[in-house]
Amino acid sequence: MPVDQAPARTAITASNVTRQYVGGTFTAVDDISMELRENEIVCFIGPSGCGKTTMLRMIAGLEYPSMGDLTIFGKPITGPGPDRGMIFQAYTSFPWLTARKNIEYGMKIMGLSRDERSRRSDEFLKLVHLDGFGDSYPASLSGGMKQRVAIARTLAQNPGVLLMDEPFGALDAQVRWEMQEMMIEIIERENTTVVTVTHDIQEAIYLSDRIIFFTRSPGRIKADIPVSFKEGRRIPRKEEMLALPGYVDLERQLFAMMREEIQQK
């Protein structure tokens, strides 16, 4: 359960990463360096327009740094790849495929055999609590279920790192909470390294071992905060976390930082 097994490998490094747009007039990410360890759950948090999503998309290989280097397990990131699974805020389950075929799609790209695909799709349908919905098209699924299809599809590829860009942002509060607990359960089981972007402070505290707070334009790291009150535990029920000493202090600290950032113009 705890994440303190042996010296963890480095999953992702960023060295002096800068991302500029519109011919250098707008800097989204400014000279960021960080090191994310294997099996760590890290949240990027910060006000809107702080470059946290840009940073995540660069790790995914969907955008490129203007300057600086990014590596995954020591290899330079040159483009997107199945070693970094990505969950988007928008529903990305393919509407023309059934839930099962969606989950099998990533495995098909990887060249897994038909038997292997159907065995693993069963397993992952169960993992995201969608057993019985394998033959449904996304149009007949709720938002949370569509998102679970996308999560299962990504995890079925067994990515070394799972990247999530405000994955539950489009869901209502109750479903978001259910999804957060489901994520904890899945991450714990799959032992995945996770980077999540969110602007939901409680979500950041609940999900992560470590919170990286971004400042607003240009995006820099304001603080790198270990979520130490959880003592490395992944807590299955959210209310248990709320009862832990230290929770409120961290939440208050993050709210204060958020206010600071918002008030600076």
Binding site: F88, F94, Y137
Partner: protein
């Protein structure tokens, strides 16, 4: 919701009841034609549609009788036009002309799609290709297809090829533009999701963009084949001896308005039939696409 309820046994009764309620509402509010956000049952929609069509024929009929008797042959009554249509079918081998026109429409439209669909999708996917071709193709949209008739006559003579070419020219540029727009509207996250799963460029295009855009492309095709039907008469007016348009032109020379109108009706009917055919095909081909309205 209504339709879903109609499937279960007990729901059928509820459906009827709802329908009754709808009818009551229309009866109660004196003229609820202009009520906002009304939910109509399928039956009400059908009845209103039939009422509209009947209204059209009634107004036509009245118009015919209001016309002074000596000019009534310039506005024949609906039943006279229907009579002319039957005479055409039975005695004048009109079926051959209809088939000829259908061949021209479908062959030319098939050819136009063969080029426009892949080109539109490719232009939607690849920015450089779009930048290269779009200004020229957009400009061609503003050239009236009819103005190509003299040129096509010089090139191909009064042949079928000339007519097919005109029909192709009439729709192809619009079709490319529409399909380009359809492709641009594909949700970018679908493409990015495929990329992060390790899909290559070819896979992204064939396994994500094409299925994602397919229903919209069929919609665009449905709309453009309607435009194709409107070009048919233009294509068959000049240097044509067969086809619905040619029949109408010949009738015009002898002031046979009933035959002209029969031709118009034929084209209208065939147009609607094509439309329904496309809708059914889309419903059958994309069972996953529930958002499609009717």
């Amino acid at each position: 919701m209504l339709r879903a309820a109609g499937r279960s046994g007990s729901g059928v009764i509820r459906l009827r009841k709802r329908d009754g309620e709808d009818a009551n509402q229309i009866a109660r509010r004196s003229l609820s034609l202009f009520e906002l956000r009304t939910v109509l049952s399928g039956r009400t929609t059908l009845l209103l549609g039939l009422a509209g069509a009947t209204g059209f024929f009634v107004i036509w009929e009245i118009g015919h009788y209001l016309t002074p008797e000596e000019s009534q042959r310039f506005l024949p009554a609906p039943q006279e036009v229907l009579g002319a249509l039957i005479t055409l079918l039975v005695e004048k081998d009109y079926i051959a002309d209809i088939l000829k026109s259908c061949f021209r429409i479908f062959a030319s439209f098939f050819a136009a799609c063969l080029i426009a669909v892949p080109l539109g999708i490719a232009m939607g996917c690849f920015m450089r290709l779009r930048a290269l071709l779009n200004p020229t193709i957009s400009a061609f949209r503003y050239l009236p297809a009819a103005s190509f008739i003299p040129l096509l006559l010089v090139w191909f003579g009064p042949t079928d090829t000339q007519k097919l070419a005109l029909l192709v020219l009439g729709v192809i540029f619009f079709l490319v533009a529409l399909i380009l727009d359809n492709t641009k509207a594909v949700q970018p996250e679908l493409i990015e999701a495929a990329l992060t799963m390790g899909a290559g460029r070819r896979q992204v295009v064939t396994e994500v963009v094409v299925p994602a855009v397919a229903p919209a492309v069929v919609d665009s095709m449905r709309n453009m084949i309607a435009v194709g039907w409107t070009y048919l008469v233009i294509a068959e007016i000049v240097a044509a001896s067969d086809g619905i348009g040619a029949v109408m032109m010949r009738a015009g020379r002898f002031l046979k308005v009933d035959i002209i109108m029969a031709g118009i009706l034929t084209i209208g009917f065939l147009g609607v039939a094509t439309d329904i055919l496309f809708r059914l095909a889309a419903r059958y081909a994309f069972p996953w696409n529930r958002e499609r309205g009717d």
